[in-house]
Symmetry: C2
Subunit: 205 residues, 2 copies
């Protein structure tokens, strides 16, 4: 019997570098799969269903919410975004690890529905650095950056709901830490009951 995969949930303040860490992990770990979101928004040019997003109608999305078919979902500017439960479970049951990169509210929803996931909070090394990173993206005004920094404190109050905190002082180090967390979790006694039963039965022969 295959050991089920692990669901890894990465979140943390905007600008902490979650996206970069996630891309590097996907490059390094062949068993790791990125969880695609479902959305009701229209595909943009070049986006294809099943590759960037699972595109669906408002009616279908609402039906899935009612059937508890999302690990987490949110409404943003009249459109829905969410993580379909079956999509993730099928990957996990086939032994693949799945990574979700979502905000704190989404992570809390996932934890509520799937507490055996591994919840990792990514933190920039300092608030100055966080401001720099957001600024470097060049898409935000100083005012917006200040606003975001103000939100960090609020977000931080959720950190105790996570299992791990990884400071993104250097991307390569942060990626190595997350990889260690995945490797360690695979050795966790609670994830190895099949193996333990097998050895126990061998001893009883």
């Amino acid at each position: 019997m295959t050991q089920p995969g692990i669901l890894i949930v990465l979140s943390g303040p905007s600008g902490a570098g979650k996206g970069t860490i996630c891309r590097e992990l996907l490059r390094n770990c062949p068993n790791l799969h990125y969880s695609i979101s479902a959305t009701t928004r229209q595909p943009r040019p070049g986006e294809t269903d099943g590759s960037n997003y699972l595109f669906m109608s408002h009616d279908k999305f609402r039906g899935m919410i009612n059937d508890n078919d999302f690990l987490e979902w949110a409404e943003v500017y009249d459109n829905y975004y969410g993580t379909p439960r079956t999509y993730v479970m099928d990957l996990l049951n086939s032994g693949k690890d799945v990574i979700l990169e979502i905000d704190t509210q989404g992570a809390l929803q996932v934890k509520n529905k799937f507490p055996q996931g591994v919840f990792i909070y990514i933190m920039p090394p300092s608030l100055d650095e966080l401001a720099n990173r957001i600024h470097k993206r060049g898409t935000e005004t100083i005012e917006a950056i200040k606003n975001r920094l103000g939100c960090v404190r609020n977000e931080l109050s959720y950190v105790n709901n996570y299992n791990y905190i990884v400071v993104n002082d250097e991307v390569s180090k942060a990626v190595a830490r997350v990889q260690s967390i995945i490797d360690a979790e695979k050795c966790h006694v609670s994830r190895n009951s099949n193996l333990i039963d097998k050895i126990y039965n061998l001893c009883s022969q």
Copy 2:
């Protein structure tokens, strides 16, 4: 404020390869210290106090038992062996990681007194392999090996008291897994309250 070190407790069936893994870890991890046992037995030629063992009288040892000064202790053939609590705590508080290689009974005693330790059960890949390893040491008769294998099942019933199980299929892989466990544990939210408080305070300024 220094982040306290981590106490790593390695145990598992005799012949699982704990000693080899422990030596390799000590070679690879400069921050890792081997915990020396206290004993009442006489030093053998070449053994020095504080390097191989902390040698002490029966009276002193019994006094320390009464003062709850051992993380674990046992009496073996009229001599006492134990892990002095202060010795380990001083290392941990100075930020060093400490590794203990002890049997299941000792590990359970440590867990009772220091549950924030990391308890790792080392398992040989198969029972045949376990028999081979014990046999290769050349110090045991077939009868003794059978006896030991019979004890493995009993030992295994304690595995759920451990945090991690590491199968020693290849020494280098097993060592890498234990290293990942140490690195992951350093990122655990419960071990990073100082860091979290620091960031929280920075945000509040």
